[in-house]
Amino acid sequence: MEPDLNFGWTSTVGNVILGATKSEGGTRSKSYTLGGGTTLPFMEKDLSFPAPLIAFEICDDPRYWSPIVNDFCGDLVNDPGAWAKTAETAYGADLVRLCLTSTKQRDFSDIPAIGKTVESVLAATTLPLVIEGSNEPKIDSEVFLKCGETGQGEKLLLGTAEAGRYRSIAAAALAYNHSIIAQSPIDINLAKQLNILLKEIGVTRDHIVIDPYTGALGYGFEYSYSAMERIRFSALKGDTDLAMPQICAPSDSLTVKEVREAEGPARDSMAIEWEFTTSLAAAVAGAEIVCVRHPDTVKRLKAAFAGLSARTEV
């Protein structure tokens, strides 16, 4: 007896396109279509269904980055362009996620510098780009417009919209045809609410990626895990306000006690293990983009996703 691995679901996760190639109006070497899933992750009948994407996170001001990553990557962390290129060629990432940590400085106002950083990253890597914008609501509008403008035609994924803070980012996405990350605090109803707010101001669902918020392993991950599963089921049951792909972007995996307290080479292993375990479980729960910061996590996740996508006939 063969069970129904579609569990009787009839709907699918909606599509979102990231990146644009030359023929699509951009300069990327490839573009990705997220979504399309008809059942739980890695259980599609079609074995060629794509595995989740692995985004390697870089930043433009390493003072606000994990010392573990800074030590491991060395001088690269001072050159976002070179770092992005290394993420593509050496680390094996599918996406680059640029976090504009420079905006964390008090009274930050150097918007042109943001434009230059985005430009240099776009020039250095051919991968589609996720950009994590300002850290301060007061400069959201300028930062997102600058990012949006600089990446025009590239189908960026811009982050992060929240319930009280989504208009600036939505305006930039709408003006330049980018997609956005919509983050809500580990609650399916709040996720839905935000998507409806975005819909009302004109952001269509093929331009939204849901971030249900990821608590690091051991620090609330169980809530994120279940929120992801529930959002996935709602999509499969036909709730179009939740039928978007999801992203797992734990911001605190490398600052948890277990990682902080590890010393020497053990610190890298602990960092990788924490990111790996969180990302793997999130992918199985429904995340279609997983974000990591340690270069060595990328290869391990790649291999694990390949294993999850392989099935032997019996």
Partner: protein, 444 residues
């Protein structure tokens, strides 16, 4: 079709003998109806009643106890595919592998590690569960020596990984009364292995790659008198395990294939990245996971993931509300308010300890909700903060009236100031930044 408690009661002997562990036949019937008891517990049921009741009342996945004594554990008796539908009840046992070709010292060291290693997280002691002894040598004598080394070190649950009846018999002379697991019975060898398992009261892993073959095998083993079974769907890839384990859980809990209603066994050593297999097993229905002794990082991640996934989603772990001290805070020490979700408490406490600034933590009762969810649900509000300040006498402890609140509670800052008369400082959203915040912003 599920039967109602009263329909079941009619089929019971109505002796109220208490031998099943319940005070009356009616309470036993109610448990059966809820799938929380096994008909086998009643010694007076005739075969006909058993047949009527058996398939519909026993828990959809049989409860199987591994080992005896303090460190024994039970798996199975799960009811849902997704933890948010109810909860997962029985966390998987994680057992370290030793081979009988290893030295006695090595075997003893692994066993001692399982016995002693404890990870304390959020108020709970997390441990590994036992050892799996593999008959790598093929020799009965060598195998018995290895099992003796394990036995000498600790009384932990054991899995005997051998398909050689002679080696198993030699090992069971030593540990046969401790409910070890034998691994594994296949369609070819199940008869002799069942005979041994039955004789010593062992649990038995059955292995086959298809659902039909597994179901036939469990039926055959039950017919041979072995009822405490685990099933190994023989995955060769992570994808095999995910799809097969999910399907087995689905077919068991819907009772579409009751013969698959046993806990799932996962041999993680077969995979090139064992950590991936362990993590997958934890989230996707493995009940016993066998792996090589884990590195410190892998060990922490595995135990933490297991604790996370097997936390009851309907009951967050809570702290008692109150005023907690970090170090020995004086009159001018900062006061930080947060919620009584234990994870929030322990996370913040960890970061505060590393800042080395003595301070007070004012923990308010949000019924275990995190800051984010408590603010969203209106559970964290100014009245709660005002009452907590009063109730725990914070004014008598410090000479200032400044309260640091979590970044995610920023929308409440004005209302808290009005209700309490305290000046509110909005702290960072991320507890990791609290040290920097205190050093830069805190002045009594």
């Amino acid at each position: 079709m599920a039967l109602k408690a009263l329909d079941i009661y009619k089929l019971l002997p109505k002796k109220n003998c208490k031998e099943c562990g319940d005070p009356t036949c009616l309470t036993f019937a109610m448990k059966l109806a809820a799938g929380k008891a096994d008909v086998e517990l009643c010694p007076y049921l005739d075969d006909n009643a058993k047949n009527v009741l058996g398939a519909t009342t026993r828990p959809p996945i049989k409860l199987v106890a591994v080992g005896v004594g303090e460190r024994s554990y039970s798996v199975g008796e799960e009811f849902v595919l997704y933890r948010h539908d109810k909860t997962f009840y029985h966390p998987p046992g994680i057992m370290f592998v030793v081979g009988d070709t290893q030295s006695e010292e090595e075997i003893a060291a692994v066993t001692a590690r399982v016995r002693d290693e404890t990870l304390t997280r959020v108020g709970a002691d997390l441990k590994f569960n036992g050892t799996a002894i593999v008959n790598t040598s093929g020799s009965a004598e060598t195998y018995a020596k290895a099992v003796a080394a394990v036995e000498k070190t600790a009384g932990l649950p054991e899995i005997l990984v051998s398909e050689n009846p002679e080696a198993l018999e030699a090992a069971l002379v030593l540990c046969g009364t401790y409910h070890p697991v034998i691994c594994a019975a296949t369609p070819e060898n199940y008869k002799p292995l069942c005979a041994i398992a039955k004789k010593h009261g062992c649990r038995l892993v059955v292995r086959a790659p298809t659902f039909d073959a597994l179901a036939e095998l469990t039926r055959n083993c039950v017919a041979e008198g072995v009822k405490n079974l685990l099933i190994d769907p023989a995955p060769q890839t992570l994808g095999d395990f995910l799809t097969r384990s999910t399907a087995i859980r689905e077919l068991a809990i819907t009772r579409a294939m009751p013969d698959l209603g046993y806990p799932v066994y996962l041999d993680a050593t077969k995979f090139s990245d064992e950590d991936a297999a362990i993590a997958l097993g934890i989230v996707k229905y493995a009940s016993v996971i066998v792996c090589h002794p884990l590195s410190p990082a892998s060990a922490k991640a595995a135990l933490t993931l297991r604790q996370n996934i097997y936390t009851d989603p309907q009951k967050p772990i809570q702290m008692n509300p109150g005023l907690y001290r970090v170090g020995t805070p004086g009159k001018d020490a900062p006061v930080l308010m947060t919620v009584n979700f234990s994870l929030t408490f322990f996370t913040l406490q960890g970061y505060l300890e590393s800042t080395r600034v003595p301070c007070f933590m004012l923990i308010v009762d949000t019924e275990g909700l995190s800051v984010l969810t408590a603010v969203a649900a209106g559970k964290l509000n100014e009245t709660l903060v005002r009452d907590a300040l009063k109730k725990f006498g914070v004014e008598n402890e410090v000479s200032h009236k400044k309260l640091i609140i979590p970044g995610y509670a920023a929308p409440l800052s004005g209302r808290i100031e009005e209700a309490t008369g305290w000046k509110v400082l909005v702290g960072p959203r991320d507890a990791a930044e609290i040290g920097e915040f205190i050093h830069q912003e805190w002045k009594p």
